[in-house]
Structures are given as C-alpha cells and as structure tokens.
C-alpha cells in the first residue's frame, strides 16, 4: 500500500513509485502506466474544477482573478507540475523519453517553459505597477478618512484617485515610457512630456521588459503547435506532455489577463482548449469566464483584469464623482456612503498589502521550479543520447 505521507499528492507519488519498482517487465507495467496517466489527467481536471467552483458567488470563495485566487492557481500549477514529473520521469528509462513522438514534443514543452519564464518576469514587474496603484489608493483612503472631511483632503484624494484611474485605463503603464524619455546624460532633461512631472503617474513602472517584447505574442507563440495527440499517440506519454503544456499555457495566459504586462493587448482570447477531453472542461469554463470579463473591459482599455484592480477602479470612479461634487461640509447621507466606499477601498488595499508580495514570491517559486524541471528533463534527454557528442 502507498507510503504514508502528509497529503494526497504525496501518497499519489508514493503509489506510482512503488508500482514502478514492483514491475520489472514492460508488458506488465503497461496497464499500470495507463492508469497513472489517467489519474494524472483526472487530477488536473479536479484541480481546475476546484478553481472554477471557488469563483462562485459564495463570498467565502475567492473571486475569479483575485489575488488569493491567483495564488491558488499557482499552487495548483505547482502540484500539476510535480505530478507530471512523477508520471513522466520517475523510474523511467531515459530511452523511453527520447523516442518519438516525445523526441519532438518534449523539446517543444521545454521551449514553452523558457517562454513562460519571461512571462513570469513580466507579471512580477506588472505586480510592481499594481503595488503602485495600491499606494495611490492608500493616499485616497488616508485623505478621506479624516473627519470632518475638508476641501483640502478631498482635493488630495481626488488627485490620487485620478492618477489611479488614469493608470488603470491607459496602456501607457504597461508599455513603459522609453519613447517619451530623453537619454541625455548627466541629468540633462529636455523632456517635454507633460505627464512627466505629475506625481504618482504609473509611469513609475520605469523598468520594462526587453524592447519589442510582447506578452500577447509570447502567449500566442506558446500556444502554437499545441495539439492534442491523436490515435495511437493518445495513450502514450504524449498525452501527459500535452496536458502539462496546456496547463502551462493556460496559467500563463490567465496571469497575463489579470496583471498589467508589457503589450498584452491582443492577447489571443481564444487559444484552443480541447473540448473533447474531460480534464479540460473546468479550464474551458474558466477561460470562458475570463474572456467574458476581457470583452467587457476591452473597450475601455483596461490594463489588467485583477479583481482587486477592477473594484478599485469602480470605487475610484465613484469617489472621484463624489469629490467633484463635494462642497464643505457635505451631506450626511452622502458622507455615510462615501465612508463605506472608503472602507471598502481600504479593505482592498489591505488585501493587496498582504497578498501582492507573497504572490510575487510565488511567481518566483514557479520560475525556479520551471527552470529546475527543464534542467532535469535536459539531463535525461542527454542521457538518452539525444544530445550529440562532439566528434573531431
């Protein structure tokens, strides 16, 4: 029976390795292998099903694309990844992994992995921009918390909120502003960009990815060649490779949809997911929901679908309206309303304060894991003699 471990995933891994060790011949192991592969798919389906159901209207769940939900998404990704490695690598002869169709499919997956690393970095940078929005919101919250509310404080809040809302609607924030910057040395500033001196403008995302790098293009490139294995191939190792590839692309796609990234407009909102495969259904469900959100915001050009950002924007707009119409001392009813909104805004800031850095660190963990797995696969492929030895 499986080795005792703390969690389900651990016992699953234990089951596989024990089975592998028990079986000597290829023939006998074939059935076990099939079962392992099926279990992997089932688990993937289960995990994404959890993610889908947690987005239900029930307030105890995490809203779709909220910080907490994204953290869960990344957790599930790491679990899938670990299981994938167990199914494909553990106890397996390197030559099995190097033969067709894996000899082509695995390098493709590894190539996608490399691309996903850059997406991780872009998303981490994007979260810096979100942090900045948080700061602006905090200013507004601090300003509007003062009682009795005076003109000065309202003006202050409005300034911060205007910057906040502007940053969220314009793609400038994510594009970076090298075009508008002069590179004169020794602080020679001939910059005529009027936005420049406006404090708090999200142009503080002053560090960007490589020029011409595009998150949308990256995701698109990652999803190319992503095709479900057909026929005889669908029962071998090609299937889990396809599953993992799909999971990887989906997770990256989701991150880019949520977080401000360089050049995410035109994100292929319909990258193909296999409708005919059961494990993919929850993913398809999530995709549909996200695409719906995307379409809603597309006209306004929102920089990211992060749930907290969306709510911040709404509150921001509303509070700006209030600020515009404010005259000291203000109506009590209105002030009560505003107080609630300010509290809500404060709550969001708190969520960001507590969640953004852990999310960034989690992304970094994903980064390191992807690097490590890639190296492990390369070592195995090398052992299988896929990499040519030098000849003189």
């Amino acid at each position: 029976m499986p080795a005792t471990t703390e969690n389900n995933q651990g016992s699953f891994l234990g089951r596989i390795s024990i089975r592998r060790n028990q079986v000597m011949s290829m023939d006998g192991s074939h059935d076990q292998e099939l079962e392992d592969l099926e279990l992997f798919q089932k688990h993937v389906g289960d995990r994404f099903s959890d993610l889908l159901s947690s987005t239900a209207e029930d307030p105890s769940g995490d809203a779709l694309l909220s910080i907490a939900w994204l953290r869960k998404l990344l957790d599930e990704f790491l679990c899938c990844e670990a299981e994938f490695k167990a199914v494909v690598l553990m106890g397996r002869d390197p030559s099995q992994i190097a033969k067709p169709p894996l000899d082509k499919l695995l390098p493709e997956l590894l190539d996608r992995s490399v691309k996903s690393l850059d997406v991780c970095n872009a998303v981490a940078l994007g979260l810096d921009a979100v942090k900045n929005l948080q700061r602006l919101a905090e200013i507004a919250v601090a300003a509007l918390h003062v009682a009795p509310l005076g003109d000065g404080q309202v003006r202050r809040a409005k300034k911060a909120l205007s910057a906040l809302v502007a940053a969220m609607l314009h793609d400038d924030a994510a594009k970076g502003t090298e075009r508008s910057r002069s590179f004169g040395r020794r602080g020679n500033n001939t910059n005529t960009n009027t936005n420049k001196d406006r404090p708090g403008h999200a142009r503080s995302l002053s560090w960007t990815m490589a020029r011409n790098w595009s998150a949308a293009k990256q995701i698109h490139a990652m999803s190319s060649n992503l095709a479900a294995p057909r026929g005889a191939e669908s029962s071998g190792l090609a299937q889990p490779v396809y599953v993992m590839s799909t999971v990887l692309v989906f997770v990256m796609w989701t991150l880019v949809a949520a977080v401000p990234c360089q050049e995410r407009s035109g994100l292929g909102t319909h990258f193909p997911l296999p409708r005919q495969l059961g494990w993919a259904h929850p993913m398809i469900g999530l995709q549909e929901k996200i695409v719906e959100e995307w379409k809603k915001k597309e006209k306004k050009g929102s920089v990211g679908l992060l749930e907290e950002m969306q709510r911040m924007e709404k509150l921001g707009q509303s509070l700006i309206e209030f600020a515009d119409s404010f005259q000291f001392p203000g109506e009590t009813e209105r002030l009560e309303e505003v107080k609630k909104q300010v509290e809500e805004l404060g709550e969001i800031c708190k969520k960001m304060e507590e969640g953004l850095e852990p999310l960034q660190q989690q992304i970094r963990e994903v980064f390191h894991r992807v690097v490590r797995s890639r190296t492990e696969f390369l070592v195995v492929l090398d052992q299988a003699g896929k990499l040519p030895t030098p000849t003189v």
Binding site: R135, G187, P199, S206, M209
Partner: protein, 499 residues
C-alpha cells in the same frame, strides 16, 4: 502641498547626477582570463594561447553623490514638511518614482541591454561573452557604488522617520536587482560546454565577492527577498561551475577521431586541454572551495606518489583530466597504421604535456613524480620508435661472422637493400612531424648514433668487395638525410645522387 510635491519632483530630476562608470577607480588584483577557443574546432591546427585582457576585477566600494549635494538639505526640509503634515505617502511616491527612473537611465548608460531569458539562451557565444562581461561590470558598479550611494541618499533624506528609508530603498532597487539576477539565471540555464567555464567562473566570482555587500545592503526584513534570490543564484552558479568542470573530463573522454592526425604531431585536443588547465589554475582558489565535496576518481586507477602532491581537489581533478587525455590519445594513436608513427605521435603529445606542466604553475600541482614518470614515457616511445623503424633497416647490414663466406653479390645486394630501406624510411618519415625542435634534434641524434656508425662499420669492412655504384651514401649523406626527418615536409631520395 501639491505645489511642494511638484517642486520636489523638479528638484529631484534637475539635480540628479550620474557618475561615469569609466572614471571609477578600479584596480585589478587579477587579470581577466579570456579563453575563446571552441572545443570543437577541427580545422584549426593552431590554438591561440589564452589571451589575457586586463580588466577591472575589483572595484572599491565607494559612494557617490546621486543628487547634487547642494540641494540635499532642501530635499530634507521638504520631506520634513510633508511628513509632518501626514503627506508622507505622496513624498515617498514621488521620491521612489524619481529614483527608479534615475536608476533605469543609469542602466542605459551602462549599456545594459534588456534581454529576455529566451534571448539570452539563443545568443551566439561571442555575443553572450560580451554581455557577460558587461553584466559583471554592471553588478560591481551597481551593488558596490550605486546602490550603496542610493541607500545613503535615502537615509540622509528620510533617516529621521525610522525605518521608512529602508522601505523606500527596497522599492527603488528591488526590480533592478532581480533583473540583474535574471540574466544570471538565464546564463546558468544554458548548455555548459567547456569554453564557457571561464566566464561562468568569472560570474561566480563576482557573485561571491558581492555577497557580503548584498547582505549589508538588503540586510533588513524588507530586503530579504532580494537577498534570498541572490544567494540562490550564487549557489546555482557554484553548481553550474562544478558540473561544467566535471563535464570537461567527459568531453575529453568522448572526443572521438575518425581519422588520425596527419604527420603525427601534437593533437589540438592536447593543446586545448593543456592550455585550458593552465588557464584554470588562476581560478584555483575558487575551484578548490567548490570541488571540496567531489571525489575525483581516476579512471585508470593510477596511483601517484601523493606525498609529492598537494592533495587539493584541483590537483586531483587535473590529474584525472590528464590521465583521461592520455587514454584518449592512446586510442587516437591506434588509428595510425604505421606502428612507428603511433609512437612518434604519443611521444610528441606526452612531451608537449610535460613541457606545459614543467614550465607553469601546474608543476606544483602535478609534482616531480608525475614529471619523472611522463618523461620516462615519452622517452620510452622514442626508443620504441627506433626499434620499430630502424631495427629492420639495420638488419640489412648484418655482418656474418665469416666475411669471406659472403659473396660479393650478397654484399652488394645487402647494400642495395639498405639503400632501399633507408630511402623508404626517408620518403615516409620526412613527412612526419616533431614540432618541438629540441625533441626533434634529440631523436635525430639518437637515430644517427645508431645508424651512422653501423653503416660506417659495414662499409668500412666490406668496401673492397662492393662496387662503388652500390654504395649510394656517404656517412655525411646519411647524417644530413637524418636531419631531414620529422621536419614535416616529405622528400624523397629518388633523384639525389651521391656527391
């Protein structure tokens, strides 16, 4: 307050300063090693010696003024006012933004290209080499000078407000540090062919040197993420260097030739390996620390006089490397059909190895015993060569005990056989090569010491019985023909006549 904010921005932007990276006072403790020869170059017979380029390897930590000192007091007073009025969030917003922009611009000055991980993995080696050098320089300047100064600036302006300045500093610097570390991650991910080892060692060295500075800069809780990532990268590089180095021996072992090296000279694999380890000796300290856990199993199981050797890991590994090389060379020598050439080839190559080791820092690592043993080896090959080639030639001059029993015809026939044999050896072996002049001369002398007296004796004893036309060569002829051997330019005696 809003006006104050704008003024703050204005001042920060107007009065930021950059220091020219070139004017920083760097001094090198150690020259940077450059070793670019590709392991797989087949056509090049010449291997460039490791070219040394003087570069800055140590920079002194120093602080510079990132903002015109004249305005510092004014900035501080703005800070005081804004903090006092609870506008500290606006202040830090503006301040952090402005400082981040300044740092971003400085990266441009340093000519640091923004490369994605994918870009780095796809770079050609010479491009990657260049980027790595830029990165090393940037790391030193940014960590030791720029960020130190930035933190000092933050402290100066915001020091009165508790740990606020640390938080600002972290916001300013974190993503840039991560960007630098990402480049390192990308390089560590790449394929680790032997020629990369020196650059990897340089990168590891830089990370090692800067570790303390980073620990100090990011010492607080808020900086722990960057600190953690830095140390992760340092460890990865340590592993990368180790595995690349260990893979080097494998690369030698699996370096197969299909055809033998023409002329039997020094194989470029030998030159590459010897020059490689000679260059590596410079990194001995770093390698010793990294290799301390790795046991080096000598594949041939040879025992060396360990008392004469330093037992450091580098020495063990180098020994293992040269042993692997010898074994590989031995296999390569079997590709020659001519056994004599096999010996010449081995002699050339072992001699080259011995010379390289004797005349460098490697001599301390390998020790006298190794040198003695290998000197004996190449001398043994020389003797084998002589036996294989010249015994049969000289056997034609065998004297019978009873000169009177041998007919003139036989004597003449033997003379002819000798001439033919000698001519054949000459034809073939003038085309062989012993690159080292000393070694060549020694062998030529040794050969002539065997051949010439034997010839002299034979002719001297039998000259009365042999017609002149059969005595093709004089002693002097032979002597000078022998000097033509191993010069690498094939000649023949067909049209040469006795003077």
């Amino acid at each position: 307050m809003s006006r104050l904010e704008e003024e703050l921005v204005h001042i920060l932007v107007q009065h930021k300063q950059y220091f020219e990276p070139e004017y920083m006072s760097f001094h090198s403790n150690r020259v940077d090693m450059v070793y670019d020869e590709s392991f797989r170059s087949v056509e090049d017979e010449q291997i460039d010696e490791a070219s040394r380029s003087c570069g800055a390897s140590q920079s002194e930590a120093s602080t510079v003024d990132l903002v015109n000192p004249a305005v510092l007091q004014y900035l501080k007073s703005i800070a005081n006012v804004m903090f006092g009025s609870k506008y500290h969030q606006e202040f830090s917003q503006v301040f952090v933004t402005s400082r981040r922009d300044a740092l971003a611009e400085y990266f441009v000055i340093l000519e640091m290209e923004k490369l994605s991980i994918e870009d780095v993995l796809k770079l050609e080696w010479h491009c990657l080499n260049r980027e790595i050098k830029k990165w090393i320089r940037a790391m030193k300047i940014i960590v030791r000078v720029y960020l130190v100064s930035e933190k000092r600036l933050c402290k100066h302006i915001l020091g009165d407000f508790g740990s606020f300045y640390q938080f600002c500093f972290s916001e300013i610097s974190q993503s840039f540090m991560l960007h630098l570390l990402n480049f390192g991650e990308a390089v560590a991910m790449g394929t680790h062919t032997p020629e990369k080892l020196f650059r990897l060692l340089d990168m590891y060295g830089v990370l090692e040197h800067l570790a303390v500075d980073v620990d100090i800069l990011f010492f607080e809780e808020v900086g722990s993420f960057v600190r953690g990532e830095f140390h992760k990268l340092l460890r990865r590089f340590g592993d990368t260097v180790k595995s690349t180095f260990l893979a080097f021996r494998n690369a030698i072992a699996t370096n197969h030739s299909k055809t033998p090296l023409p002329q039997g000279g020094v194989h470029h694999l030998t030159k590459y390996v010897m020059n490689y380890i000679m260059t590596l000796v410079e990194y001995g300290d770093t390698l010793n620390l990294l290799l301390v856990d790795e046991s080096s199993i000598d594949p041939a199981g040879n025992k060396y006089d360990t008392s004469a050797l330093s037992l450091c890991p580098v020495a063990c590994h180098f020994l293992s490397i040269t042993t692997t090389l010898e074994s590989n060379l031995s296999n390569k020598s079997k590709l020659y059909k001519d056994v004599a050439l096999q010996h010449i080839f081995m002699m050339n190559n072992i001699y080259y190895m011995v010379q390289k080791i004797k005349c460098s820092d490697l001599s301390h690592l390998f020790g006298d015993c190794w040198l003695r043993q290998h000197t004996a080896k190449y001398r043994h090959d020389a003797r084998c060569y002589e036996r294989v080639t010249w015994s049969s030639v000289l056997s034609t001059l065998k004297d019978d005990s009873e000169p009177n029993c041998v007919s003139q015809r036989t004597l003449e026939k033997r003379c002819k056989e000798f001439s033919t044999a000698f001519g054949e050896v000459y034809r073939i072996q003038t085309g062989w090569c012993i690159p080292d002049p000393q070694l060549r001369e020694d062998l030529q002398i040794s050969v002539s010491q065997k051949v010439v007296p034997a010839y002299r004796t034979y002719i001297g004893r039998n000259s009365s019985n042999i017609a002149e036309k059969y005595i093709k060569y004089t002693e002097d002829d032979l002597q000078s023909y022998i000097l033509d051997l191993f010069q690498g330019s094939p000649k023949s005696l067909h049209y040469q006549h006795r003077k």
